[in-house]
Symmetry: C3
Subunit: 155 residues, 3 copies
């Protein structure tokens, strides 16, 4: 194994305006409470027996494996949303599934979509779901903005 | 060194329809046999003396450094393909090179392209090639589909 | 912690023509001196007390956490540029910030932009800046080209 397998995870979300799209993304990470960490994007599995915790303060500069959705937009007045969902299986020897979704639109629609995506992914695996959780955020663009929702994996 | 350097690698490919593009991508990973792992995308080198193995079952939830090509498409009837190629050098102290390519089109054309890309990359390095291998997959879109081809690095 | 936290970093940049956009990207990495490594893209923090060094030769095939900007272009005559900037805080218990920016345009404009992005990000954090450094590169496209600028984190 090249990397350690995560044992804990938590959900966060944030939104921000910014000087550029990347600054807005950076602001959204700060608002989500993980703005001073180094996100390493990954696709999108909760290891078996990985435990959900409340968001913790990650040491600054840490490299953090994260499954996330993000969108930036520079059209004033537009609504943007990001959401992630986590489905855990009934049988704890199996992995859970994370899905990510961002779109123009409101939080309710985007969160419903990402939950349905996760249900479909578990159905494809033939796994019954014990727990389905999600987090979502919406933001109406003033000038340049980003939304961000993530499952952060940790040890 | 922040991460361990991989010592083994294998090639996989898959294709799938899905409820959304991300679900199709997830299905393609499952078909490729690495659907319950956390891919960490990387650019695209085989470490010196890294050994090719047959695909193994990665423990679920593992973080896996992977060089991959993927494409999604929602135009019914369209053919999509993904391919990766690996060139190993004659001199085993040197690194090998991975290239990735996806496009609308058939498997033969996409695989030929990615093999040529790898030849060009080795020529740029002035390295003679001992072995050139590749894997490719094509899929004709029904509704929403993805193809995926990867070199998975492992320990 | 899943991954070790980096303790050193350095800045590099490169540009290249190539047989395809990915070959041009590969050539730009080679010109930057990190062409035989496996870049793992991350967002974009310098850990507290992380020390800048001159570029070193990374062992071939290593997995390397890197914050980078890159752009490819196939319009002959076009100028493309990539730049990264690093702002370090006055108070060494805090993290530093990396920003990345690529665009069509010349090096001077793109480097000025990325430096301003970094200033904005530190302002958002309420942190005074002790040092602001950057690296940038421009290239006039002949056929198919890429520019690349990066902050490489290391141990």
């Amino acid at each position: 194994m090249i990397f350690k397998t995560p044992t804990h995870y938590f959900l966060v979300a944030g939104a921000s305006e910014g000087f550029t799209p990347l600054n807005a993304f950076d602001g959204a990470l700060l608002q989500a409470g993980i703005g001073d960490t180094n996100l390493v994007k990954m696709s999108s599995i909760v290891p078996p027996r990985c435990i959900r915790i409340d968001p913790i303060r990650i040491p600054p500069g840490s490299l953090v494996p994260t499954a996330y959705a993000s969108i930036t937009c520079d059209i004033p007045g537009e609504m943007i949303s990001s959401a992630v969902a986590v489905a855990l299986p009934e049988d704890p020897v199996h992995a859970g599934l994370i899905m990510e979704y961002s779109a123009r639109g409101n939080r309710r629609d985007v969160e419903e979509m990402v939950r349905n995506m996760t249900l479909e992914g578990m159905k494809l695996r033939g796994r019954k779901i014990k727990d389905l959780s999600s987090i979502a955020i919406e933001h109406q663009v003033k000038k340049i903005a980003a939304t961000f929702a993530a499952v952060v994996l940790w040890d």
